[in-house]
Amino acid sequence: MYYYIMEPATGKASWQEKVKDMLGDLGIAGETVMPSAARTIEELASLGVIKGYTTIVAVGSEKIANKVATALINQKNTKDTVLGIIPDDYTSKLAKRIGVSDFKEACQALKFRKLEMVDACFVEPNKYFILEATIDNNHNGEAYLSLDSIQAGMPFDRIVIKPGLKIEIQDSKGSGGQAIKSFFGRLFGKKEEGPDIFTSFFHTNELKIEIPGNSLGLKVDDEIIAKTPIYCSHVPHALKIIIKRDTIDQKES
């Protein structure tokens, strides 16, 4: 019933063994696979669905969880398939999202199977992400956004896109050193002088981002999943994930 896809990571072999032992103790051990040059994470996830497993578990970073999620959403006939996650970093947004603070809690969450439908963001041609993706700008170029009924142009340092197509555009260059002032202000216990007038927030159902003269990467956990120009759309209720039973109030919105 459980199909585990473990991320090959140096220095984490003992952690992976502990996870396997814990899964065995809880009675939820299953087939465990590891990606290789011959079989990618997406292929392994698809294979798990074809074999009839109903719980595909990503064991490792946000990167692997996102790849498994993409494979599951892209697969047809996966209505009964759920995504389980055992994160390797318990300070990560992924761990907070499922409400676990160590691998024991993550394994127990898998056993008790509280399911939650999550939204995803679709990036053309065939990528999805369930947490957040970012575009970092190391140049001085402007971004042009086309939302539902507006066209917007702006300088930016970083664009953060979250499912539900909540978009945050950070622009510290335009602040004229406000970020530095703010840092020293906080360091010396001074209160912030005023509201941040440089950061923008939008929310929409469809989005196109262009950076004229540049092709910047859209990254999920430091891995580029697409390059600008990108087209994103909101996919409500894209996938069922397993979360900790008592985390309803703790999860991130």
């Binding site: 507006i150 917007a152 909540k166 950061t199 923008s200 927030f201 939008f202």
Partner: protein, 130 residues
């Protein structure tokens, strides 16, 4: 239209952002940047000192510290702060213009029923040029 979901987050437009089109949010809109087009909210629109709007503005409550070249309809309250500049007609039940503010245009203060009719008319007709 950006979002009709009244429980969702609002929209904030940064000071270096330039927009063309119709900006609508069921929740609060905070404008620090520039827009050429209509701005509409079911709740509140805050036009900060650095903001410039060229087009009609419609919301329940509107606070203006920047510049608006266009008509304003506030079904609840309209406040023009000392740094605010409004060039266009305003329609509201509750108007507060602070000392130092600039307002050039026509002011209408209809009662509640007329206000509702005005809103409906506004939706039917294109925005008047100022």
């Amino acid at each position: 239209m950006m979002d009709k979901n009244a429980s969702g987050p609002g929209t904030v437009i940064g000071t270096n952002v330039k927009i063309v089109g119709t900006l609508y949010d069921a929740n609060e809109i905070i404008m620090h940047g520039k827009i050429e087009g209509e701005v509409k909210s079911d709740k509140t629109i805050i036009v900060s000192e650095t903001a410039y709007i060229k087009g009609p503005v419609t919301a329940e409550t509107i606070q203006v510290a920047g510049q608006i070249d266009g008509s304003i309809i506030a079904t609840g309250k309209l406040e023009i702060l000392p740094t605010g500049k409004v060039f266009g007609s305003i329609t509201t039940k509750d108007l507060n213009i602070r000392s130092g503010a600039i307002f050039i245009g026509k002011s209408n203060m209809p009662d509640g029923d007329k206000m509702l009719n005005l809103e409906e008319e506004k939706e039917m007709e294109p925005a008047p040029e100022v």
